[in-house]
């Protein structure tokens, strides 16, 4: 079932019509942020706290000959200098990654990427720490680097991971999904086959707050309190217990206010471990906060996929099959964050939103002398790459068939009655009404009128492009039988306590980096219990205060923890029913629920509100057998399946024929994330993601020179779009609830980041149609667009 709703007139509820439950509600967390009273990791100051700084490698590949730290140690402010040799003694030189590899905490043998951690200085203040880095003398024996991923598997290529016994090449994995023989057979008999190589370049999540930590090791009772920029505090606690050998019950991880994550803060970086080591060594709290260049050069990048795509269809436009070979650049250590079973993440959702007869993908991961990572940057584990591939291929096919790209999509989208839909690579899509969403976006855009305008402009030599993207995401990882990260099942918990006066606190295992958890999760409880959201506090980010769970990334907070919160509230509601029955001197089965109270069937005046029931529960009411004296509950949620948000995006661009400059004139985004909890927060998420998409499509990528030097180490080189590069976003929505989710919600956090880049690139390529090109690689900078107009689309890598 799909409901199409229009925007309510009231953009943000005022005091009078504030929703008790779902609806537009200003964010509860914002007063502290807009008043500058947020509490970020760098705001934390502990008594006697020292400061750490990391010496980083200036070259991409080099044998470490020697390190002399004596001058740095002589600096009056310096308390300790830690090197890889020191860590070897502590068995901490190497740490496990999230992908069953290891990563050097500090270099012991060889530098493997520019910016890699070489030594750690602990000093009285951050100025002394930074100054002392210049006093450390390091001798490197520079080696030839592997920069071009296409040459990483060449025989004779330098072996990056030669510390692993028996390793003679840079190959990490080959991974396949779909039936190759079946797919090849469909291709062999298809009327039309088109192919295209495309590059999704290396980009960076670049959160506004860089990564950092404050470690406070208390030697007497052996406890470690670690404040860190983490999207997954509970998983980090378990990993620290394993890596550092500190018993898990002695570790407390606090992830306070976090200034954006986008996947950048999922993994454990050497800096976090070094802050802990620094605190153990000095006996004092140690703060480490990276600067912008360190963040851009050393922390998890995203994408970096070279994809060879092929699409097969009948001559009248029925898409039959899709196949692709991918070369994935994982950098120097395989530190990609993803569920264990899926080394290429969820890339096998590349069949997109179409009903295909066959599909096959093969992904080959390789090492290069670049920073490790490969995180899901605002996407659920490589869905972004998958959507980009299929949406570009469909557009290329439309060009080949001389069909309108909207018409081709409408002809091939999975139909509402086909859900739950099993695709050819093993996914079961939960629900969708794709054509309705696409038609709605076309109506909002005035699609036919735009095509007419384009035709007129083309006749005058003006370059206008219209790009469509239709995406399906797979988010909310995930069912524990299939999905774990380093052995931890991808489930999440919630605990709810209703205090005697009817105010409540809900503790969740996921952690907000700006998504608005403190509002959204309060609204879920409010919807279930009928108490106002402002009477519900949401506690998150502190392992001592919250139940176990895997954290916030891959749009999983609402699909997983949101479900846990709804279920825990329902548990409380059921318990309240028994207590209300005791209070009303009736049987529980004779009670009926309306939002906020249980009442006697047929006698609405005889009822008890949640507040009354809670006072009863904590008071002197004679409780029924088996009911204890509180109104609390807890739940751990194991999702039965992932959720599949989708959307239809249309982008209109104007390209300056003289300069190649692209102006995004309009962008229409129709999203379906199932049940909408707070439409205002949803729109905010969509606006942010679309802006991200403009960045990737038009201006961003991390470039390296032939020596492996990172050329994108500042915001003057790695460009973040501003309000001036983006249009006034036109958002719309349909609502197709997830049938397996307790409240039907699917997640929205990353839809726009996933869906917008192909819409923009499709629009640019459409604008350039008069030049006869079928593809150009991102980012569509003025220089690249101009080159494409000369018939020279240059791949970035």
């Amino acid at each position: 079932m799909t409901i199409i709703e229009e925007h309510p007139a009231n953009p943000a509820a005022g005091d009078a019509d504030r929703p008790i439950g779902y609806g537009r509600l200003q964010r509860k967390e914002d007063p502290r942020f807009v008043r500058g009273k947020g509490n970020y990791v760098d705001d934390i100051v502990l008594p006697g706290m020292l400061h750490g700084a990391i010496l980083r490698a200036p070259v991409a590949h080099a044998r470490l000959v020697s390190i002399d730290t004596s001058k740095a140690l002589a600096h009056p402010g310096v308390k300790a200098v830690i090197t890889g040799q020191d860590l070897l003694g502590l068995k901490l030189a190497w740490a496990p990654t999230l992908s069953a590899d290891v990563q050097a905490v500090l270099v012991t043998d060889k530098v493997r990427f520019q910016g890699q951690e070489v030594a750690f200085v602990v000093a009285d203040d951050r100025y002394s720490a930074r100054d002392a880095l210049e006093l450390i003398e390091v001798d490197y024996d520079v080696l030839p680097p592997v920069v071009d991923v296409r040459k990483a598997l060449d025989p004779g290529a330098p072996v990056i991971r030669d510390e692993i016994e028996g390793r003679t090449d840079n190959h990490i994995f080959d991974w396949e999904a779909g039936d190759k023989a079946e797919c090849d057979a469909v291709f062999a008999s298809a009327d039309v086959v088109v192919s295209q190589e495309m590059v999704y370049p290396r980009v960076h999540p670049a959160p506004m707050e860089t990564c950092g930590a404050v470690a406070d090791y208390e030697p007497i009772d052996g406890t470690l309190t670690l404040y860190e920029t983490s999207q997954a505090p509970h998983a980090h606690r378990t990993l620290f217990a394993i890596v550092a050998g500190i018993p898990e019950h002695k570790i407390r991880i606090v992830s306070p206010d976090i200034g954006g994550g986008f996947g950048n803060k999922v993994g454990i970086y050497p800096g976090y471990i070094l802050a802990v080591v620094g605190s153990i060594v000095t006996g004092k709290p140690v703060k480490w906060m990276e600067d912008r260049s360190e963040n851009l050069m050393s922390t998890s990048f995203a994408r970096d996929y070279i994809m060879q795509g092929e699409i097969a269809a009948t001559k009248d436009g029925k898409i039959l099959a899709l196949r692709t070979n991918v070369l994935a650049d994982h950098g120097a250590f395989n530190a990609t964050a993803q569920p264990t079973k899926y080394p290429a993440g969820f890339f096998h959702i590349f069949t997109g939103s179409y009903d295909l007869q066959a599909a096959h993908c093969k992904v080959t991961g390789v090492y290069t002398n670049k920073a490790p990572g490969g995180v899901a940057y605002a996407c659920s584990f490589r869905v972004t790459e998958a959507v980009y591939l299929v949406e570009r291929m469909v557009d290329i096919l439309a060009r080949k068939l001389e069909m309108d790209p909207a018409e081709l999509r409408l002809k091939n989208l999975i139909k509402p009655e086909q859900f739950p839909y099993k695709n050819k690579t093993g996914w079961e899509y939960d629900s969708g009404d794709y054509a309705t969403a696409l038609r709605k976006s076309m109506d909002m855009a005035g699609y036919d009128e735009l095509r007419r305008e384009q035709k007129e402009k083309r006749a005058r030599g003006e370059l206008m492009g219209i790009g469509i993207s239709f995406f399906t995401e797979t988010v909310g990882a995930g069912p524990r039988k299939h999905m774990d990260i380093v052995g931890l099942g991808m489930n999440d918990g919630a605990e709810l306590r209703v205090h005697p006066t009817g105010k409540a606190v809900v503790r969740i295992s996921v952690q907000s980096q700006g998504q608005g958890h403190e509002t959204t999760f309060a609204q879920i409880v409010a919807e279930e219990l009928g108490i106002p959201p402002e009477d519900i506090d949401v506690v998150h980010g502190d392992t001592d205060q919250t139940p176990f769970g895997l954290g916030t990334y891959g749009s999983r907070s609402t699909p997983v923890s949101g479900a846990a919160v709804a279920l825990v509230a329902r548990k409380v509601r059921e318990k309240a029913k028994f207590i209300a029955a005791a209070m009303l001197e009736t049987r529980p089965e004779d009670l009926e629920w309306e939002k906020g109270r249980w009442f006697v069937k047929g006698d609405p005046s005889a009822g008890k509100t949640i507040a009354e029931i809670s006072m009863g529960a904590h008071g002197t009411v004679a409780l029924p057998e088996g009911i204890d004296g509180n109104l609390d509950a807890e739940v751990t949620y194991d999702p039965p399946n992932l959720t599949f948000p989708f959307g239809a995006y249309i982008c209109v661009v104007d390209v300056d024929p003289g300069t190649g400059h692209v102006k995004v004139r309009r962008f229409i985004a129709v999203d379906d994330c199932g049940t909408r909890i707070n439409p205002m927060i949803i729109e905010g998420q969509v606006h942010g993601g679309l802006t991200d998409g403009v960045g990737m499509a038009l201006m961003q990528f991390i470039e390296f020179d032939a020596e492996g030097n990172n050329l994108g180490g500042t915001f003057m080189d790695y460009l973040i779009p501003t309000a001036l590069e983006v249009p006034n976003w036109e958002t719309g929505f349909t609502v197709t609830p997830s049938p397996h989710h307790p409240i039907g919600a699917k997640g929205i956090g990353e839809s726009a980041t996933v869906g917008s880049p192909p819409a923009i690139v499709n629009a640019v390529v459409d604008a350039l149609a008069p030049f006869g090109i079928q593809h150009m690689d991102m980012p569509c900078t003025p220089a690249r667009v101009w080159a494409a107009m000369q018939g020279r689309p240059r791949p970035p890598i």
Binding site: S293, T659, H661, M716, T722, W786
Partner: protein, 296 residues
């Protein structure tokens, strides 16, 4: 947080005080808006021992018309230039450029003097000053001297201002029936120019081009492109002449390949943007001429 190397700091109260501080501290840099120098210090690419802060030198914050000159104080902020109706009327090239210099936050602090003295090859006001045939007034221990922009520029990040001197003023000659324009291609607002072009023309009473200056930003040439100007002198402006001038300007340019684009693209922009700014500058000059005639 990016942390500069240790440095000392002094805040000058007058121009003479600043000159004395510069004399006393040979390894020092003057800081005005600081939006170029401070990032370079944070990246430890610049490491002066002393910073001489001249933000209190309000005596250098002025825009004054004096005879056939417009005098602009070195501490005039970008925002002031952008918002000045007099600048917009007399030298619209500066208004054009200021619209695309960095972003409002930088423009609120950055100054014309700081921009010129930083002498970044991709800096916009340098090109504007070159094509407007401005003069720089430099004050040092021995008093003031005035130099032309071609003398002022000594190459990337180098100017005629000695370590113990300060740029105090820029003087723009006001010509009758003149127009000017600037256009820049950038990857994103706030980015340095991929390439930009500026042009200024003044027309004779008969509508022929009396004087013309063409300049390019971030294209490896910091002089006016006299060989392109030559094809326009004494002629009535036409599209054909603009095309010819663009072609010559592109040939004279000497850009380098970088992340903003390859050499062939930048040469193409030199051509394209030269044509555009000439077209625009001439249209503006004709408008001024027309208005003057009507008023007359």
């Amino acid at each position: 947080m990016q942390i500069p190397a240790p440095f000392d700091y002094a805040r000058a109260t007058t121009v003479n005080d600043a000159l004395a501080l510069l004399e006393r501290h040979p390894d020092s840099r003057v800081v005005a808006g600081g939006h170029s120098l401070l990032p370079m210090m944070k990246l430890r690419l610049a490491r002066p021992e002393w910073l001489i802060d001249i933000n209190d030198l309000y005596e250098l914050d002025f825009i004054l018309r004096e005879g056939d000159y417009l005098r602009v104080g070195a501490m005039t902020r970008h925002t002031t230039l952008l918002e000045s109706p007099e600048i917009a009327r007399l030298f619209p090239i500066i208004t054009d450029a200021e619209r695309v210099i960095a972003d409002p936050i930088v423009r609120n602090r950055g100054t014309i003097g700081g921009s010129l003295c930083q002498a970044d090859p991709a800096e916009d006001l340098s090109t504007c000053c070159v094509v407007l045939r401005a003069e720089a007034v430099i004050r040092g221990p021995g008093g003031e001297r005035t130099v032309s922009m071609s003398e002022f520029h000594r190459g990337p990040y180098e100017t005629a201002v000695a370590q113990n001197e300060i740029l105090v003023e820029v003087r723009f000659p006001i010509l009758p029936r003149s127009g000017s324009a600037y256009e820049k291609v950038e990857r994103r607002v706030g980015d340095w120019a991929v390439v930009a072009a500026g042009a200024a023309v003044s027309l004779a009473e008969d509508g022929t081009i009396d004087d013309v200056a063409i300049g390019l930003t971030a294209a490896g040439i910091d002089r006016t492109i006299t060989e392109a100007e030559a094809v326009l002198h004494g002629k009535k402006p036409t599209e054909g002449l603009f095309i010819e001038a663009g072609r010559i300007a592109a040939a004279a340019s000497d850009p380098i390949a970088d992340q903003r684009g390859p050499v062939d693209y930048k040469r193409h922009l030199a051509d394209e943007l030269t044509r555009r700014v000439l077209r625009h500058a001439c249209a503006r000059a004709l408008e001024v001429r027309h208005t003057t005639t009507q008023e007359g």
